[in-house]
């Protein structure tokens, strides 16, 4: 008697099904899977995945230096749906695993799904307003694919970003170690695990992760002026331990002037600058002042203002008649900047727009190049952001109006998404891929 054992083959590719990955889910939302396996010979780490066992998509993960240990994170797949995946390692030969199933757990009912039209082959990272304090990732069909609860309280969650290494979702929320208004930068590993907390003090609205480590953010800078406290703002950097360094304050090179023109912050005083977003581009910080309707450009090295775009004291002037008013999130581009123009409350009817400007610092002028206003059908009272998409086009988040729009390279809307009543977005961002290296 003899026993003939035949190893299984995948009839589609002819590869040998010898890999035996182990899979662990994140405990927070059960929407991210980490697959681990080993090979006997050096190889790479890839997962093929899709709605059925024809897969259709691949993602590359991490392999050890000797090429024998492999890990891949699979995340960003619509929760509540069954996904097929298999491990693939290519070295001297191609090895695969058996077909595996992944069912990301459905999100809590408090996290809304979006109503969509059109097509978008990407993800959207959104801090949610209303219905609970969550940060969520949506797919192009408006389905929740990853989420974290930021707070049990209903707090303002204005900004969430993917970390520079793509492995964590960063959100600005209440500092759990403080009872006052202090906030912290919460870093949630995509693959699961406890959040890292970096105190940000009295920061607000926005932050960016710095390539050298740490973060830059905006803090309230309240000082006495003409007999009362006046709320300005400061640009600060925060290192990994929470040590705060002031880079520039609006008080350094500007003065409030007539205080009667500013709204009053209860318990504080006149709200002079109301900075609400920042960017860093080629060594220059771009700071948006909603109240002064201008952009401050601050050199990160000299910590001095190198230009003020728009506003009453601006020295980079509008070429033309169509500038911007109260606004959010300037995004520097090759020859200008994108900006979400909320527009003032005294211009009826109210509507908002995403605008692209050219900028010539040599001539000290900026000019409107193009804009998108959804037929003047949407007004965003709070937040709003626009950013370029790789390969052309723009992504627009309409903030408190609870809408998202993707424009193609010709400025036509190709995808729209909307929240249900009572839900809206802070600053939302398109994300190409959430899966990959753990």
């Amino acid at each position: 008697m003899f026993v003939l054992l035949l190893a299984c083959t995948d009839t589609d590719s002819g590869a040998v099904a010898t890999l035996e990955p182990t899979a662990t889910l994140d405990s927070e939302s059960e929407t991210a899977l980490t697959a681990s396996w080993t090979t006997d010979t050096p190889a790479d780490a890839v997962i093929e995945y899709g709605g059925d066992d024809a897969y259709g998509k691949t993602v590359t993960g991490w392999s050890s230096e000797d090429g024998l240990q492999h890990m891949v994170v699979l995340a960003g797949l619509a929760a509540g749906f069954e996904w097929h995946w298999r491990a693939v390692s290519t070295g001297a030969e191609v090895e695969v695993s058996e077909d595996q199933l992944f069912l990301p757990t459905r999100a809590p009912a408090e996290i809304p799904e979006l109503t969509v039209s059109g097509a978008f082959d990407g993800l959207v990272l959104a801090p949610l307003l209303g219905g609970g304090t969550f940060v969520a990732m949506y797919d192009g069909e408006g389905r929740v694919s990853w989420w974290r609860k930021v707070s049990d309280e209903q707090v303002t969650l204005s900004q969430a970003r993917l970390s520079l290494d793509g492995r964590s979702v960063l959100a600005m929320g209440d500092d759990p170690a403080q009872e006052g208004p202090e906030v912290a930068l919460l870093s949630y590993p995509v693959a699961g695990g406890d959040a890292t907390v970096t105190p940000l003090g009295v920061a607000h609205h926005d932050f960016i992760e710095l390539a050298e480590g740490g973060y830059a953010t905006i803090q309230f800078d309240i000082r006495p002026y003409e007999g009362q406290d006046v709320q300005g703002d400061a640009l600060v950097t925060v290192d990994g331990e929470g040590a705060i360094t002031t880079v520039w304050s609006t008080w350094d090179e500007r003065q409030p002037g007539n205080l009667d023109q500013y709204p009053i912050v209860e318990g504080v005083g006149p709200n002079w600058t109301h900075m609400n977003s920042l960017a860093l581009h080629e060594g220059v910080y771009w700071l948006s002042s909603y109240q002064l309707q201008c952009l401050f450009l601050v050199d990160a090295g000299t910590r001095r203002l190198v230009g003020q775009v728009g506003g009453a004291d601006g020295n980079v002037l509008l070429n033309g008649s169509d500038g911007f008013g109260p606004q959010h999130t300037p995004i520097p581009t090759e020859d200008g900047f994108l900006l979400f123009n909320n527009r003032p409350l005294d211009a009826m009817p109210l509507w908002s727009e995403a605008v692209e400007f050219t900028l010539d610092m040599g001539k000290r002028e900026f000019a409107r190049r193009s804009s998108y206003d959804a037929g003047r059908s949407v007004f965003t009272a709070a937040y709003g952001n626009v950013e370029p998409l790789p390969g052309g086009g723009q992504f627009i988040a309409w903030g408190s109006a609870g809408r998202l729009t993707v424009l193609d390279g010709d400025g036509a809307a190709t995808w729209e998404a909307a929240t249900p009543l009572g839900s809206a977005f802070g600053f939302a961002h398109p994300i190409a891929e959430l899966s990959g290296v753990p």
Partner: protein, 305 residues
Amino acid sequence: MVILACTDGSATDSAEAEAPPVVIDDADNYALTLDLAVEPLAIAELADNIVSWGDLTTDIRGDTMSALDVGGIDIWWLQALDPLAVLDAIEGGTLVQGDIALDAFGRAPPDKSSVHLNDLVSFWGKFEPEQYLIGGTGTWLLLLSNDAEEPVSFQLLTPVPGGVGEIGFRNDRPALSMVADLDAGAAAVVPHGATPTFDWAALTVDGRGAPVVADGFDQLTVARFDLDAASLQADFAQLESLAVESWSMSVKGETSAASEGLQNEDGAAFTGITADGTWLLWLGCRSCLSFAPPIVVRLALSGAP
């Protein structure tokens, strides 16, 4: 002896045959005529008006309530909608967040039945009616809800110079009338002892004949009533409160659901319908502002007369 142990990588079929789904389509749905009537209240623009509801003893559906049952207060500026358009949108459950140009919200203080508008907050911070309560275009909607976030009552407001400084809620405003015909649709048949899958992918219109998207509902409910269909129709505005038993589940983004996932308020699972009473299934949108489910279907036990 040869041992082969291969799979083709595809999902294997279940060894057990599953009961066919109970299909819900337009022909099964009830017919509904719903009408909301309320005159907009002219309030003082750019002013910190008072909102009071101490006189409320019945909610908009006619259910008895206490003023202290009010939990939430929301105010929305629907800039592009006149009052009639707002009422149409509420009747159809079609208001979306993008319709709201400015909004603010707050919680009712404990043991109190009034708030000031500047007690409310917006997504950006404190709502300042002296700056934001703008008149001249569109309609403001002030909504009261209970702790379960169900609408209790609402008012339409038009801020004008010299308008009143208090928004007082009364039992008779707004007026809601609903005429439901539960026999307009055929009953969906459920096998005895079964907890079937309900499949509503074929739905295209609601009870009012307005278009719907089959995956646009977020809650499925099955309920038993001791009243017959005619009696339920007479008190249709109180439908949910008339149920003797009910089971619900979230179905957001879905077009079908396994009914074994339905649970009552104690967490007990649905075990199938019986020959006792009247059984209804309805699909709704909990995040929508509406006063009647868009889809209501009678359920009949197979073999029942």
